[in-house]
């Protein structure tokens, strides 16, 4: 099924947002179901089996995070993008812990949402648990324990700063996907930074050193000239 015919469930309690985003997504070729509270989102997700869910976090009757938790508890692995309203670091961390496939801070450019929807749909494995919901990720001899916040290479723990570990986590949960520096900044740092490009490159250099990954002949992280980075090793989910 091509993404253009996919059904999306959009849950946001703010009518000005839902009323503007729904026609935009319809124009982009999706069929959009709109709900304005968490409980309705849960019911619609269970009844209509959309290909992707876009969930706001702060909603009446049940917040987006609880909706996601209940879906995952019922083994419904529909790809989900969480829209965080507050944009706090803790909220972003929780979004990852609860298995959101991606997340986007308000206010965002609707085109950015569209790009995320397409990327998530592209890597979705229908009915299967996504990498974002797994606690342990492995790629050849590299493994990342997301709960313990520890990465090991060939069984040896590698020394990484929290930011470098978060970069590795984002790359491993989005393998084989071109990830721009701007997106990494938003996902890992949460803010726009003036020296954004260099900020990301500095962390990437730290990560590569720790992984003993040669940028000229990469085993894990490939540089896409003028764009960003791509995690090229095959990632398996465990736990």
């Amino acid at each position: 099924m091509s993404p253009e015919r996919s059904t999306l469930l959009l849950a946001d309690d703010d009518p000005t947002i839902a009323d503007s985003l729904a026609p935009f997504l319809e124009r982009a070729g999706f069929h959009v179901l709109v709900v304005s509270d968490g409980l309705s989102a849960l019911e619609k997700a269970q009844a209509h089996h959309p290909q992707l869910i876009i969930l706001d976090v702060l909603m009446p009757r049940m917040d987006g995070r609880e909706v996601l938790r209940r879906l995952r508890r019922s083994h419904i692995w529909t790809p989900t993008i969480l829209l965080t309203q507050v944009g706090e670091a803790s909220e972003r961390a929780l979004a990852l812990e609860e298995g959101a496939d991606d997340y986007l801070n308000k206010p965002f450019d609707p085109h950015e949402l569209l790009a995320r929807i397409r990327a998530v749909l592209r890597r979705a494995r229908p009915g299967e648990r996504s990498l974002s919901a797994a606690w342990l990720l492995t790629a050849t001899d590299l493994s990342l324990d997301r709960r313990a916040r520890r990465a090991t290479l060939d069984g040896e723990t590698i020394d990484l700063t929290p930011k470098a570990l978060a970069v590795l986590e984002y790359l491993m949960t989005h393998p084989d996907e071109a990830i721009t520096r701007e997106r990494l900044l938003e996902a890992v740092w949460g803010w726009e930074y003036p020296a954004g490009t260099r900020t990301v490159d500095t962390r990437m250099a730290e990560l590569r050193r720790a992984l003993d990954d040669d940028p000229a002949k990469p085993r894990f992280i490939e540089t896409i000239s003028g764009e960003g980075y791509r995690f090229i090793a095959h990632v398996e989910a465990e736990g």
């Binding site: 944009g87 706090e88 670091a89 803790s90 206010p107 700063t161 929290p162 930011k163 740092w189 949460g190 803010w191 726009e192 930074y193 003036p194 020296a195 954004g196 260099r198 900020t199 500095t202």
Partner: protein, 325 residues
């Protein structure tokens, strides 16, 4: 309240009354020449002294008077301290309330201008048929949205800074200053300008600081942006670093018109705009962010500025130097 105070005063003066009563009783009912002995056993030493009833009566009265005097003094001292503490608390609450109100007033001002621009652009879009006018309205709306987004992003940074722990890693200062200067190249105010970066060659290697590199770059960048915005193309902007064994000193200096004296104490306040900055682009949170970031690194930031010759402004950041080892 008043009644309680009288009761307290009566209780405090009890030693006086007891002393007075003892004196009167001794004078009235005991024989005047009867000797009275006091004996106090302190283990090894024993003190014995004697006197006559009249002396004892005087002694009891004087002792009661003195004890009461001391107690009343302590009582009033205590009341005074409590009153002073209350005044300080009230002043701090009043200041907090004033600062909250002025923040809301400034926020209202910062939001209403771009919102007004957005409303006007929407009206133009609705009513105009000419393609160029509609295009112009779209561009204006985009600018208003960008301004609101910047304000929101800076507000989020300020609120995030209080909530999340900062990274504590060794930070190379010349490298971080170079990053901040490089990042400033994209600013429209940088066009045709030069920012000089002055790093001493001694000591070598230059001492480092401990902290969150990204946040420190942001702090220095904000100061450079500030310097570029409030100076003209003829003015100089310098970023320099030095260390005095105790602290790393980072300065961002410019030869611009300077900050009016009355604005200097307030420029680090959230959303404060000085009298000569009202029409300048910016969220009004840049310097507040600098102050918060530096405080999180156990450092200090201050400004000195002169509008008279030699004019200019110098922002100084002092950060603890990382101990070697």
């Amino acid at each position: 309240m008043q009644k309680k105070r009288w009761i307290n005063l009566f209780l405090l003066s009890l030693p006086l009354w007891v002393g007075l009563l003892s004196g009167i009783l001794a004078q009235s009912f005991l024989q005047p020449e009867l000797p009275v002995l006091f004996q106090t056993d302190l283990g090894i030493a024993a003190f014995v002294f004697g006197g006559v009833v009249r002396q004892w009566a005087l002694f009891a009265f004087a002792l009661g008077f003195l004890v009461s005097l001391v107690l009343v003094f302590l009582y009033y001292w205590d009341i005074r301290s409590v009153r002073q503490a209350k005044i300080l608390i009230m002043e701090s609450l009043r200041e907090g309330e004033q600062s909250r109100r002025s923040f809301l007033r400034r926020l209202d001002h910062e939001i209403k201008n771009p919102l007004m621009g957005l409303r006007a652009a929407l009206v133009n879009l609705q009513e105009s048929q000419a393609a160029d006018e509609r295009q112009h309205a779209v561009e204006n709306a985009g600018r208003a949205v960008a301004r609101l987004s910047r304000l929101l992003a800076d507000l989020r940074k300020l609120s995030d800074l209080g909530e999340r722990p900062i990274e504590r890693a060794r930070v190379d200062v010349p490298d971080l200053l170079q990053d901040a200067v490089d990042a400033a190249h994209v600013l429209p105010a940088y066009d045709g300008r030069e920012v000089s970066l002055l790093i001493p060659r001694v000591p070598s290697p230059f001492p480092s600081v401990t902290g969150d590199r990204d946040l420190l770059v942001l702090a220095v960048y904000n100061l450079i942006e500030n310097a570029l915005k409030f100076t003209s193309a003829e003015d100089s902007v310098e970023v320099r670093a030095s260390e005095d064994g105790q602290a790393m000193v980072i300065e961002v200096a410019d030869s611009g018109v300077g900050i009016p004296e009355e604005d200097v104490p307030k420029i680090f306040e959230e959303l404060y705009r000085g009298s000569n900055t009202l029409s300048t682009e910016g969220s009004g949170l840049g310097l507040a962010l600098v102050k918060r970031i530096i405080a999180l690194h156990d450092g200090k930031v201050h400004v000195r500025s002169s509008q008279a010759e030699p004019r200019g402004t110098v922002f100084t950041i002092r950060l603890p130097v990382t101990k070697r080892g």
